[in-house]
Amino acid sequence: MPKPRPLTRRRFIRAGAAAAASLAVVPRRVLGGQGHLAPSDTLTKAVVGVGGMGRGHLGYPGAVLRAVCDVDRGHLAAALEMAGPGVAGYTDFREVLARPDIDVVHVATPPHWHALISIAAAEAGKDVWCEKPMTRTIAEGRAVVEAVRRTGRVFRVNTWFRFTDRFYGFGTEVRPIKKAVENRLLGWPVKAVVSAATGFDWKFFWSGLTHARPEPVPPELDYDFWLGPAPWKPYHPHRVHGTFRGYWDYDGGGLGDMGMHYLDPVQYILEKDDTSPVEVFADCPQQHPDACGSWRRIELRYADGCAIVLDGENRDTRAPFLEGPLGKLYRGFESDIPGLRQKLAGLPDPAPQLTDFAEAVRSRRRFALNEANGHRSCTLVNLAKIAVQLGRPLRYDPATGTFPGDEAADRLANQPMRAPWRL
């Protein structure tokens, strides 16, 4: 075979054969664009997907908004009005990515678009701030990790409880919990229960309609683009916008909505940022093939004996949030370990994390919740979804990302996309 042709920057166009003419891969600089990393106070951003969630991103600090994008012209108009002057509107995210003057792309579309837009943004040289859940399937998550690494970009998921704020209804921040576990005050392995009793109520109103008569697509919405990689299905207003979470094609009900918020800190506390569970079990009613329903209990077990229990019915109203061989930790940091707080104070704190995204972008260091650990915590959500859809115990191989002996589970973890979209 011939050696690969050396790539030169000189154009060579064969005269008289414009259609067949070719040129060597042209560096983007030649095509225009400044591209220098912006000085600290002028990072610029675009928000793709400006429905209710995305419009919240417009005002996030750290970067100046330059562009918004949505396939619904109504959303776009509302966002442009909110954004004020100097912000351009787009209906095709690819045009946003082609702009050389944008540093960070916020992805706030429904989840079935997260992976594709994140990957395209990274390949266009942008850093990415992606809404939760990070991706809709495990394979999409692996592809995002690969693309962010390959392109050397900075990526974050839009959940934050592992490094700031009171951890939902638990009552304290995550840091002292992490410290207690890291210093083995509860012993090892540790089991976590995520339920109303421990401060985490699961929402089940994200349910789809199991029968809806198709309706005409409103003129302001590009429904085909909205669907994008998802299978084509007749339009109904309940499929899109405020209610899409109720459909497997786009998300995964309450798991998709709250899963990463609740589970990402648990994964961090259990020291599982580099791995995934090996067994998953779900107790739930049968699921409709299109519409997400409810579930009663989901258990995710790791190879070392750590486990996460999602108690959707709050059956154990006295459950500890964490339980190890040496003790239990309840909501509000109550514990059966005498003098826990005092004991804890003298011990080493967890390693500091980089929690300012703009700083991560400027210094090119990994953000606290990045593509790698974000993919792992989103895998918890996606594993739970598959267990709920199949209703049978699953074995999972965290290294290969496959379910040995369960081809159907593998197929749910890696779903082909509707052309022309592909991972």
């Binding site: 075979m1 011939p2 050696k3 690969p4 050396p6 790539l7 259609a19 067949a20 070719s22 040129l23 060597a24 891969v25 042209v26 560096p27 983007r28 600089r29 095509l31 400044q34 591209g35 990393l37 266009a124 040289g125 690494r149 390959r150 392109t151 050397g152 900075v154 089940f204 349910s207 029968h211 809806a212 299978p231 299905k233 779900a282 739930c284 009613p285 049968q286 699921q287 409709h288 093939p289 329903g293 409810s294 707080r341 005092q342 104070a345 003298g346 011990l347 080493p348 704190d349 210094s363 090119r364 260091r365 049978r392 369960d406 197929r411 890696n414 779903q415 082909p416 052309a419 592909r422």
Partner: protein
Amino acid sequence: MDKKLAVLVLAALAVGLAGPALAQGGSPAPPPELAARVSSIVGRFPGGTAAATAALAAELVALGPAGLAGTLALVEPPGGADDAKARFAVNGLAVHVTRPGAERERLLFVKALLAAAAASPDKDRASFFISQVELAGRAEAVKPLALFLSDGSLAGPAARALQAIGGPEAARALLAALSAKKAPAGDVAAVVEALGALRSREAVKKLIPLAASNDEGLRRAARAALANIGDPAATGVLSRVLVSSSSGERARAPQDLLLFARRLVESGRAAEGLAAARALLASHRGPAESQVAAGALSLLASAIGPEALPDLLQAACGPDARLRGAALEAAAGIAWDGAALGRWIGRAKDSGPETRAGIIDMVGRSGDPAALAFIRESLADPDKVVRLAAIRSSPPDDASLLLRLLDTADDEEAAALRAGLLRFEAGDVVPAAARRIDTTPHPGKAVLIDVLGEKGARGEIERVFRLAADPEPATRAAALGALAKLAGEFELPSLVAMLEKAVDAEDIVRLQDAVIAASRGADPGRRGTALVGLMKDASPARKAAVLRVLSRVGGERALRAVVEETAAADLQVQAAAVYALSQWPDFGAAEGLLRVAATTASRRYRLLALDGYVRLVGQSGTPAAGKLALYKDLLGQAFDDADKKAVVRGLGAVRDPGSLRLLAGLLDNPALGETAAAALLDLASEQAPHERWLSGPEAHSALRRVEALQADPAEKARVAALVADRLRQGGFVPLFDGRSLAGWKGLVADPPARARMAPAELAAAQAGADERMRAHWRVADGVLVFDGEGDSLCTAADYGDFELLVDWKIEKGGDSGLYLRGSPQVQIWDAEANPAGSGGLYNNRKGPSAPLEKADRPVGEWNTFRIVMIGERVTVFLNDRLVVDDVVLENYWERDKPIYPSGPIELQAHDSPLYFRNIFIREIPRGEAAPSARTDPAPAASFPGIRTAEEHSPPGLASEGRLDP
């Protein structure tokens, strides 16, 4: 031969199924007993548990191929009858047969799916079957799936299913489709995409020409596929892009090439892959293309590891921050030996501060002694960026190194040092930190004080108390913060004494936090006891200071003290007590709050108490019905309207039909109506699947009244959209889109006459009727307007059993009506001229034809019909009043026959201008409804396992959807 037919026949042959009888949807009709058996099993889906689902699926499997086909036959096209159970059953089967060890069952089911897909004239239905093959199919499905690849709307789903199945057979089938025919580019792209995903080397020859196709989408799909396959033959085509290509395509090309290079390396052609990577690295040096150079570097790093040192060093020390970061990230994944680390460190020393900092971060992860020495040395670097990197990379082994830096630290460095110091055990950092406090300037001093607090240095508490009285505010702030972490009950008297005397607002807040933290340490049973003890015989100022924090401490003893002091003689104490009670965190305060509300003479206290009470009831675990009773009770008491508003607002959070009813009843109240309307909108702003009552008549009527109350058109539109959402969730669909006549047609003759017409004759007549329709019916401001001169307006679709909502308006002397199933009629006329009123079944001869009462609004105002028709019987509500109660609608056109089973709904033209709006219909599946239409609740999609409404509220309320007469 028609293409669709070709697919159908071929597919049927391919799976060895050729039934002569084709039922609806083209599936072979199972014998009646079997159909009944299937339908009874399907009716029991969805299973409440995995075991129940498996048992149901097993019952269906046991019926054999005919049973499976019968199950699939129950799936309807979208827009058809409610087939949710059938779809549950099909997916339940797909899941069931893919369990390990069920190969024979799986094979049978996949065959049935493929046959049903091939035989289905409706493509969405076929697509659903193929999606289940995507889940359950294997080799057996490859050939039948390939037949769909030439079908415009099924090629995509079939290609995806083949991709999911995978293997050489699937790839060959896809390749054959690529070779065979000229299909639209979109379908070819789907096939190309699948071939790429399956990495079919056999496809490379076919794909190379497509990479130069005139269609951009196809070109890009082919390039991506060739890159992923990684066959060297594609080197040429992937190394170039067409001049005519789009900018997006050109930006994408190097990424394809990177993937291609990686695939070459993986398949043992390392030299070629790495050469391509190096070429990309060399040709993409600009700052706007660092993502390409980064990809080349990451490939080099993963392929040759330490040997990539020169490439990585060069990039890590270059001018572009993004590429530097990428190089260091790639380098961090490599296990460097001592010599290599030496080169990194050497280069760091010769580089600018950013690079130096980056290399420190990278080598810091190695834990190598040489790296640690370099990090220690860098703590004294003149550049802050470097010092910060060194601080965060320093292991927690010698606190003095970090403590020294605090002397000169600015805020940023102090924060980094604080984080570093907290990584130490208390014993290794506290004594030294304490020693340095007096000599260290801010912000370092504050860090040291904070470290004492964080590390629980109780032994240093005297020192911290001293610092808490320091004249310097920053010192006081840090010390008070530390006291909140260190102080316990023993220190409470001192803290309270300080709190009582404090004047600085920030000091007060910090002292309150410290008092609360010190009180919380006690065991829950005694919580607050010590603090309350300090109020005994205390001055009013001290009492007030303590009361201000008690609500955040909680506990029974504290609550008793607060309640007691609400009757205090001193006004300062009393105000603090009432406020504390109103903020109380748990339901224990409810009784005290009610007493204050009932007895106080102060308006302000009463409002505080009621607000607090409503909040506590709202957040309590009391069932909805209980909350409702408590609120109702409050509304019945002699509070003034301003007070009651708090209660009304609280009702908006009680998710129960009773609170809907209560709020609806308040809408006309002059003082509370506006608050009630807002509360109703709160209540209806979202709907859980079990909350059917939010789609029911009462909710609809109340929300429409709220809509009418809105003055701002934007608000009115928002409420209208909310009403539509609730109706949709209850299974209603809009018949009128507010914009056009879509979904409507002109009237042609009458049902018997139409039935006699030949298709062509009917089509011609329809075209004429549609033209007349457009001349006389129009849309203005979301209202359907009739000019008084043409014919009736008919729905495009026919309806059998249904619930219909429609608003109508007439002018003086106006006359109209609603035809149901193409038959007259629910009467509309000027009720001044016709005192019986509207809504009667005017053309009935045997049954009643007049309405039960006159419920019309004055001519010129809007009226609302809710019409339920089930079987032959009709029930009509006019403006929420029952005017026709389950009466048989007689057949006007053919008097000897019962009413037709289905037909269009018509808005009758009768020579006068008419106005209609808000037209919604809910189709009721035959056989679902109870004999009486009136009590039929609006069903919503419901899911097993979700708590039902009945669990939230007493049975009488939740399940009842009817209006009070």
